[in-house]
Amino acid sequence: MTAVITGLGVVSAFGVGAPAFFGALAEGRSGIGPIRSFDCATFPTRVAGEAPTIAADQLPPSLVASGAARDRKLGFGLVAAREAWASAGCGEHERAASLVIALGLEQAFLGDFEPIFDGTIHWDREPTSTAPRVRFRSPVDLTARAICDELQLRGPRIVNASACAAGTLAVAHAAALVTRGDTDIVLCGAADSMVNPLGLGGMCRLGAPSPRNELDACRPFDRSRDGLVIGEGAAMFVVEDEARARGRGARVLARIVGWGSTQDGYRATAPRPDGSAACAAMLRALTRAQLPAGAIGYINAHGTGTPLNDPAECKAIHAALGSHADRVAVSSIKGAIGHLMAASGAIELAASLLAFERDLLPGTAHHRDRDPECNVDVIGPEPRRARVDHVLSNSFGFGGQNASVILGRPR
């Protein structure tokens, strides 16, 4: 069996919907802007890849009433799931689908704290039964439950919480379920948001964001790179067996031909500098795909724009692809939409589909002067026209969780 993608839904700094996402990538635009969803005037970082707030009337009333919908990732995940489900033409026959979803980088769902900062709680007044209050109602699988409820999915739901590798691992898990014949069809993907006071504040204290407050702050593979920009959003996919998809007349967007994961086993707070474990993840994906390194035409890199990650990833690419590493095109979309954390791998797989949809390889926004330590063929800010048959997408999470997925052009 071969797992294929037949549905796609996206929410990002480029707006709601896959067409908006592909359109912006094709134009080489950047979605980074000043944070508008809360007052961050005194924060060290004040820019992000902020996605549009999902209106309350598009969310389940019960979750709005309970305050759970305050968590932005809930809306992003739901809207992306609806789009993916509809675009794949799924209906009653697909309700037994499993759901594999990656959600949330953090255990504490930071949005729960929003009432402290947005004026809905008044500390100088006595609490009443009707007054807003902080409600800790965001279990890790809240969005998964909401998606299952709305789309009436009856299959098992699996929540992947592997930090920044989670979205890629969720799609790989879905492909494995389909390929092994464990299930016919899976809705999978990821949603995340850290664009809130505690998320942004915590990341600032950790020192991960670029200290620049400029719209081009994140510069993957650039000599002047100095950190990431936070993003938010979701990407969801319908993954099913190719024969099933053909049988029901579904349009195939890509084949999922290989995947692999490893751990650095090095340090909790830094990637293994030689990139050897990241290399092993790519090699496992190639082995599973039964492809030689030369078959890869494009790599969508994890490419965070941090000083340590980018050169380690380039070393890994060279180790995995050998001499072909000098010829393969590499880009990162994190400069354009920010780092979506748990959802980054999913949305970067979505971006990789541009190679098959339009014969365009996404550009690397704000990349100008390639760091000699990043000795790969980095695509500049403009997308590059090319026809490739296989693309590889990397995600390397906090604590050294590495994941790679290879997509193939539809047959």
């Binding site: 005194t42 769902f109 004026g119 008044h122 890790v140 098992p156 929540v159 919480a161 994961s261 474990a277």
Partner: protein
């Protein structure tokens, strides 16, 4: 779904009924129940709880981990050592964490002086958040620390939610059967006793619901492996979509609801029964 099994070659756990196989086995055979009266019964709807009785050992990892994470590290180290299988790039690692809620107690200093409007939130306290605060709340922090300390470099993933333990076991079994790895450490931990969780469970669960907590680890190898001096076997399961705190295992009656740790604790109990 294809029937698949793996051999369990090492175990470790922290449970409401004890921390060693013999202790727990003896208490289970005696039908002993772990539930005690909730020490804060006047504040919560749920009147009984089943806590782990011992505190985690002091650790330099308390910079990054809270109580349950520290238990997770302890059982990871113990099971890994008991298995005596050298760390390598073919040693997988799969972890499961519960649907943990927001934790507020380590944020009080940052929140105490906030203004209603959210104005100057950074200056009013967030700038004092510890740099590691974010890391302490990451869902994969045990995965990150244990893989580094033990040198595990094979396939792996972290799963979340009430059935996470079953999915972690499933992923390990599949990776073993695929030949991607030769051994897998599976670690699960969860607590339903944290204040936020108790409040929520008290609002939606029956009064006789007993929240518990546990950390458990098993090392798996292929069932046919010559290294399998097996304590028992575990097989692939299909967790139901309707799973939230359902009484999914007989151990629930004895230990309370263990959330994400249920499947791994159950696997260890099964090894005792298989012996």
């Amino acid at each position: 779904m294809t029937a698949m099994t793996a051999a369990i070659v090492a175990t470790s756990w922290r449970t409401p009924l004890g921390n060693t196989r013999d202790d727990v086995s003896r208490r289970m055979r005696a039908g002993e129940r772990a539930a005690i009266t909730n020490p804060f019964a006047s504040s919560y709807a749920l009147q009984h709880v089943a806590p782990i009785r011992s505190a985690p050992a002091a650790s330099r990892n308390d910079r990054f981990l809270r109580r349950m994470g520290l238990y997770g590290m302890e059982v990871a180290h113990e099971a890994f050592a008991a298995a005596a299988i050298p760390a390598s790039a073919r040693y997988g690692f799969f972890t499961a964490v519960g649907g943990l809620r927001a934790h507020w107690d380590d944020m009080l200093g940052a929140l105490a002086n906030q203004h209603d409007s959210g104005e100057d939130a950074w200056e009013r306290g967030l700038k004092h958040v510890h740099p590691y605060w974010m890391l302490r709340h990451l869902s994969n922090n045990v995965h990150a620390l244990a893989s580094a300390e033990l040198g595990l470099r094979g396939e792996g993933a972290t799963f979340g939610g009430a059935t996470a333990g079953a999915h972690a076991i499933n992923a390990a079994i599949r990776a073993l059967h695929d030949g991607a790895i030769d051994a897998a450490l599976v670690v699960a931990y969860d607590s339903l006793l944290e204040p936020e969780t108790l409040v929520e469970l008290g609002e939606r669960m029956a009064a006789d619901f007993i929240p518990g907590e546990a950390a458990a680890a098993i090392v798996l190898v292929r069932a046919a492996s010559p290294a399998a001096g097996a304590l028992g076997h575990v097989e692939l399961t299909v967790p139901s979509a309707e799973h939230d705190h359902a009484p999914t295992a007989p151990i629930t009656e004895l230990m309370g609801h263990l959330g994400a740790a249920t499947a791994v604790v159950q696997a260890i109990v099964t090894t005792q029964e298989q012996r």
